[in-house]
């Protein structure tokens, strides 16, 4: 039997679990960069080539990385940058400017940020002097003076690129693309966006200066690859301090992924969304249940996590309503059935409710109009019903037309789970004619 070189250290279980949590949390929560990005090798190569041409050979370029939310666009860019900066020359020469559409909501702010990040002369420490026009002129001067041989290449990364297209006149985009087309200081403009139709947002003059180069990250995972991805995300790396524990853990993860019920759950998740982020959310719920008393992930954990992810929020809120509010919702459901979705107001709902009360012998729910009004307003605050138009100035509250924002199936499901629901209320809900 060959003697494998295991680390001799045997840490106590508590310590091991802490280490596991730390490693996996870094992977799932703060999106630590993997050593090699999986499934996007072609895109990685393409982008790396492009940026190398700018950084090493001084060629100006522009590219857009397009993909749905959670597809891994920012992660791809960061991996490419990490690989690019391994080259000493590049590390010395390349200047980087990182902008985000959510933070730099205006061209003025964006320009100040660029000036700050490039440490231009009109920025002292943190403060940037001059007006917008002066700053823009200064920046363009600085960029125009260079040429491929004598000036350092600059990399502009524009996150949430579609938000930059909403700025006034798209000044920043126009200037950046303009510089990238003309023979000036070599710059690379990389835009990251989740909108597939981003080119429609650009003005004609901006679009013509853009190189129309797009890298798409549309995931083409199959289900076995998805399963494999789940397994690798949960497995511990080789350099874990306690080798025996890591082996046991990885083996348990392997058996977990081969379990039939787990496969069904993961199939359901795969069918609703393939991206990495929703997978990370599911695995995070599973990971949170790991502790010293349960040192491994069991199929029950995954089932519970899946139940939490797929829980219907509105049905949960319906569960907490009082009986009166529930009766009002059932009355609204009947009104929707009879009048085919026409909006209703409180008077109509009260009328419908009174018709139900007339049929019952006891008058337990015979509340006054103001009490019913308060229940109705509570439903409005929870946004389970919404006014049809927002002009509530001239209409009395009880005549304001509203719409119900819950589906019929959600109401019926909530009634099944409602604690101690009176049977006549249930029967009223299920009867066809209200």
């Amino acid at each position: 039997m060959s003697k494998r070189k295991l680390t001799d250290a045997h840490l106590p279980v508590g310590e091991c679990i802490t280490q596991v949590q730390e490693i996996l949390r870094e992977r799932l929560c703060c999106q630590k960069l993997p050593d090699r990005p999986e499934g996007v090798e072609a895109q990685h190569k393409h982008l790396l080539e492009l940026l190398k041409r700018t950084a090493v050979h001084g060629e100006s370029n522009s590219v857009l990385i397009v993909g749905p939310r959670g597809a891994g666009k920012t992660m791809l860019l960061k991996c490419v940058l990490r690989d690019l900066l391994e080259d000493k020359e590049v590390q010395k020469n390349l200047l980087q400017v990182h902008l985000n559409g959510l933070l730099q909501t205006d061209d003025r702010i964006a320009l100040k940020e660029i000036t700050r990040q490039l440490h231009l002369e009109n920025a002292v420490g943190d403060k940037v002097f001059g007006s917008f026009a002066e700053n823009l002129a200064f920046l363009l001067e600085a960029l125009k003076k260079g040429d491929r041989s004598s000036s350092r290449p600059v990399l502009f990364v524009l996150d949430e690129f579609d938000l930059f297209a909403h700025h006034k006149n798209q000044t920043l985009l126009y200037n950046l693309f303009d510089v990238s087309q003309s023979a000036q200081a070599p710059i690379a403009v990389v835009g990251i966006t989740c909108r597939l139709d981003v080119l429609e947002l650009l003005e004609k003059r901006v679009k013509s200066r853009f190189s129309h180069r797009q890298i798409h990250l549309l995931s083409s995972l199959t289900f076995p690859q998805y399963l494999e991805r789940v397994r690798t995300q949960l497995s511990l790396p080789d350099d874990f301090p306690d080798g025996k524990f890591a082996e046991d853990w990885n083996a348990s993860v392997k058996t977990l992924c081969e379990d039939k019920s787990v496969e069904d759950v993961l199939q359901r998740h795969f069918n609703s969304s393939k991206d990495a982020r929703s997978m990370h959310m599911l695995l995070m719920f599973c990971l949170s249940r790991v502790s010293v008393s349960r040192p491994a992930i069991k199929p029950a954990d995954l089932l519970e996590a899946s139940r939490l992810c797929f829980a219907d929020a509105k049905a949960n809120m319906l569960h907490g309503l009082s009986i009166l509010e529930l009766c009002l919702i059932i009355a609204m459901k009947h009104l929707n059935d009879v009048y085919e979705g026409e909006p209703f107001n409180l008077q109509m709902v009260h009328n419908e409710f009174k018709k139900f009360l007339q049929r019952k012998s006891n008058s337990m729910y015979n509340f006054d109009q103001p009490v019913i009004m308060k229940a109705f307003e509570h439903l409005q605050q929870l946004e389970l019903i919404r006014p049809v138009d927002s002009s509530s100035a001239k209409i009395q509250r009880e005549y304001q037309l509203m719409r119900l924002m819950i589906d019929h199936s959600q109401i019926m499901e909530a009634l099944q789970k409602y604690p101690q629901c009176p049977t006549d209320v249930k029967q009223w809900a299920m009867s066809a004619f209200g």
Partner: protein
């Protein structure tokens, strides 16, 4: 008894203290703790906690963060009318007032992130920092970029920070149209009747036994549970009415165990409370005074809606009746009601006009009905027209047309059926005979 809350990174006695302060919420607190993990580990960038009012979301968060002494910043979005207040509060809680003073005059999100990054490069987070935002549904009404940026704050500032959003509204109504970083969703379920009983019984008065107070809470829940399950409201009602409940005991008429007599004494009182204090028709102070005043003077209790019953002059009452008829009768049926000769008969309809609300009518129609309804001859003087304006000021009529239209103003009648019936009775006018819906 095994501790209900257990976690590796925190001391046992602290967790025991935490568990004592939040009855019936141990499961949720445990879930939250396991998501938070040990203080030095990373946690998910954003967590969204939703649940009904008074279901313990803020309470659990505060108790956890305070007892376990984790660095946190609590912001209520109601107070932050401008984003500058939000940024200041966060920087103040994490880095002190020097950092907060670095913010420029009207700071943008970009300034906030920049200053945060500078500060955290000087003092990086050794434990996860938490930003708790209450009433998070108000964030939807601020700038469109604030909510998506806050959800990704961990990535933007490259620090170990987690945002926790607390709200009553479900997450589906928050999502921006191009999507955002989805937070972890956590639900705080409502309290069941038994749990409400358990929590409310903790407020007991020291001079009475626990069973006595529990029986009182039982009766209270029996009256109010089908209408209201909000813990805060129920606690308030319990506190207000307890003295009345103990009255027969203090007077020596009943013993503590005579639940039936106690119930008979308190139940009509609680029913009255539902119509007044629960609806905030009377303030709690007035209610307490009324309880001390005994039954002979309790008729003087006037709710807020009683103040709308002003005493109107004679012709104003008829104007109001005419306005009501004009609002709730369709115009084509005026002939049938207000001509001397009755030649038409109609089939009765359901109360459709009353369900839809009042309809607008022009001034001429109002005056036409007014003249046919008032029994003696009335000259169209300015005093009649000025009474119409005063009815509008009293908000008994609403003016629907624009202020510029002087020749054909339109109005709507804004009073309820009970009010107009009361008024018509004072002038001996049978209004039901003239309403189309009641034929």
């Amino acid at each position: 008894m095994a501790a209900l809350l257990q976690h590796a990174g925190y001391e046992e006695e602290r967790l025991l203290r935490v568990a004592q302060q939040m009855p019936c919420r141990e499961v949720q607190a445990g879930m939250l703790l396991s998501l938070m993990g040990q203080p030095q580990q990373y946690s998910y960038p954003s967590i969204f906690i939703y649940g009904h009012r008074a279901s313990g979301k803020s309470h659990v968060m505060h108790v956890l963060l305070k007892e376990l002494e984790l660095p946190h910043a609590t912001v209520s979005c109601v107070e932050c009318v401008s984003v500058a207040l939000l940024f200041e509060q966060v920087l103040l809680s994490f880095f002190g007032c020097d950092a907060a003073s670095l913010l420029p005059r009207s700071p943008s999100l970009s300034d906030f992130v920049r200053i945060y990054r500078q500060q955290c490069s000087q003092s990086p987070a050794k434990q996860t920092r938490y930003i708790v935002m209450e009433k998070a549904e108000l964030l939807r009404d601020t700038d469109a970029n604030l909510l998506p940026a806050l959800l990704r704050l961990q990535e933007l500032v490259e620090d170990n920070v987690t945002i926790i959003l607390l709200s009553e509204i479900v997450w589906d109504k928050f999502r921006p149209n191009t999507g955002c970083f989805e937070p972890l969703l956590l639900h705080f379920p409502d309290y069941s009747k038994g749990e409400l009983q358990q929590i409310l019984s903790q407020d007991r008065h020291p001079s009475y036994t626990a069973e006595f107070y529990s029986s009182y809470i039982n009766i209270l829940l029996g009256v109010f549970y089908s209408v209201c399950r909000d813990l805060r409201e129920l606690r308030h009602l319990a506190a207000l009415n307890f003295s009345k409940f103990c009255e027969p005991l203090a007077e020596g008429k009943v013993k503590e165990t005579d639940t039936h007599k106690l119930w008979r004494n308190i139940e009509p009182h609680l029913k009255k409370a539902m119509q007044t204090v629960y609806l905030r028709e009377v303030s709690s102070l007035q209610w307490e005074q009324m309880q001390q005043m005994e039954e002979k003077e309790s008729g003087a209790l006037r709710g807020l809606s009683a103040h709308t019953h002003v005493e109107l002059p004679y012709y104003s009452k008829f104007l109001l009746i005419a306005a009501y008829l004009a609002s709730y009768n369709p115009a084509r049926t005026d002939k049938r009601f207000f001509l001397k000769v009755d030649r038409f008969n109609f089939t009765p309809k359901n109360l459709l006009n009353h369900l839809l609300g009042p309809k607008p009518f022009p001034l001429d129609r109002l005056l036409a009905i007014f003249y046919s309804v008032v029994d003696n001859r009335v000259a169209p003087t300015a005093s009649i027209f000025s009474q119409i304006s005063s009815l509008v000021t009293l908000q008994l009529l609403t003016q629907v047309s624009h202020d510029d239209q002087l020749d054909a103003p339109k109005y709507k009648c804004a009073v309820s059926m009970d009010f107009i019936c009361a008024i018509s009775r004072t002038v001996n006018f049978d209004i039901v005979k003239y309403l189309y819906d009641f034929l």
